[in-house]
Subunit: 146 residues, 2 copies
DNA sequence: TGTCATGTTTAGATGCAACTAACTTTTTCG
DNA sequence: CGAAAAAGTTAGTTGCATCTAAACATGACA
């Protein structure tokens, strides 16, 4: 008997660019209910043509469902990746925000760092954020030192 | 009278790849006294030909001095960039190491994140690391929670 | 000192992710 | 309803960072 293998997502799409698209598509669907090419392009500050190219690739990899001229929807796999990226984003952003960094710096650093955080590192950062939230004295003391 | 401008480093070389080269060249010079193409290639796990291409670019940008077949040396500008990258690397690594992450994870995450850390974020992370070093009770408590 | 192994460079190709310009489809509204 | 505007797509180009294969330089040593 021939064994069949479950279609493991083919992680070609660990590219940080692809993750950025998935993240934005997820955010747009969350806030507006749908994700149009023009909105994705605006959010990522790139040309619409580039968005078309990428969502075709993401569709081929099974992370979104794309219908020409109709817009795009996340698959389960795509949503899972998007949610992980968002989670990492949130943790990093709240850490930096708790120390009072300006939003522009937060945006830039988080955008750069978020793709490279493993599960293990995410747990470390989450723990730190939780402690600082639970322990405002500590946070205040550390902020002093900046 | 014609004004002359001081040669601001031309930050084309904010590319993360370029930073990786500068960091490794710096490390090699630090440990062996010199940086050969083959060693850089081995450290970065890329082909020697790719190293040649990059150090030519870094030379053109004034970050290294490159003499064909002779090896490479950092300029002041190049060394400054390399030292910043190393500093960010060290802070991130010691944070993760203090929480007991395995070296492989540390290496991977740090390698990815280090290029995207601004001065401000570096200060935040440094402060956290210092506090954990000064306050082992806190560290122990947080490690419990992982 | 000439030869050869090792190390380095050049030339040319590839993949990714962006771009612009031109074309097509969809939507809006008079 | 149909024409103009808006949105989306295709085709072709670019820059970066990598690769392989082949040519070339350097240094060791027989």
């Amino acid at each position: 008997m021939q064994l069949t293998f479950s279609p493991v997502p083919k992680l070609t799409t660990s590219s940080t660019a692809a993750q950025d698209y998935l993240e934005q598509i997820h955010r747009l669907i969350g806030s507006k209910g749908y994700a149009r090419v023009a909105d994705i392009a605006a959010a990522l500050e790139i040309a619409p043509a580039s968005v078309t190219a990428m969502i075709q690739r993401l569709d081929a990899e099974g992370l979104v469902v794309y219908e020409k001229y109709r817009g795009v929807v996340l698959t389960k796999d795509g949503r899972e990746i998007a949610e992980e990226v968002v989670k990492r984003h949130e943790v990093l952003a709240s850490l930096l925000r708790s120390f009072g960094l300006d939003e522009a710096t937060i945006y830039q650093d988080v955008e750069g760092m978020e793709h490279h955080i493993s599960k293990a590192t995410l747990r470390v950062l989450t723990t730190i954020v939780e402690e600082l939230e639970a322990n405002p004295k500590l946070l205040a003391r550390l902020r002093e030192r900046l």
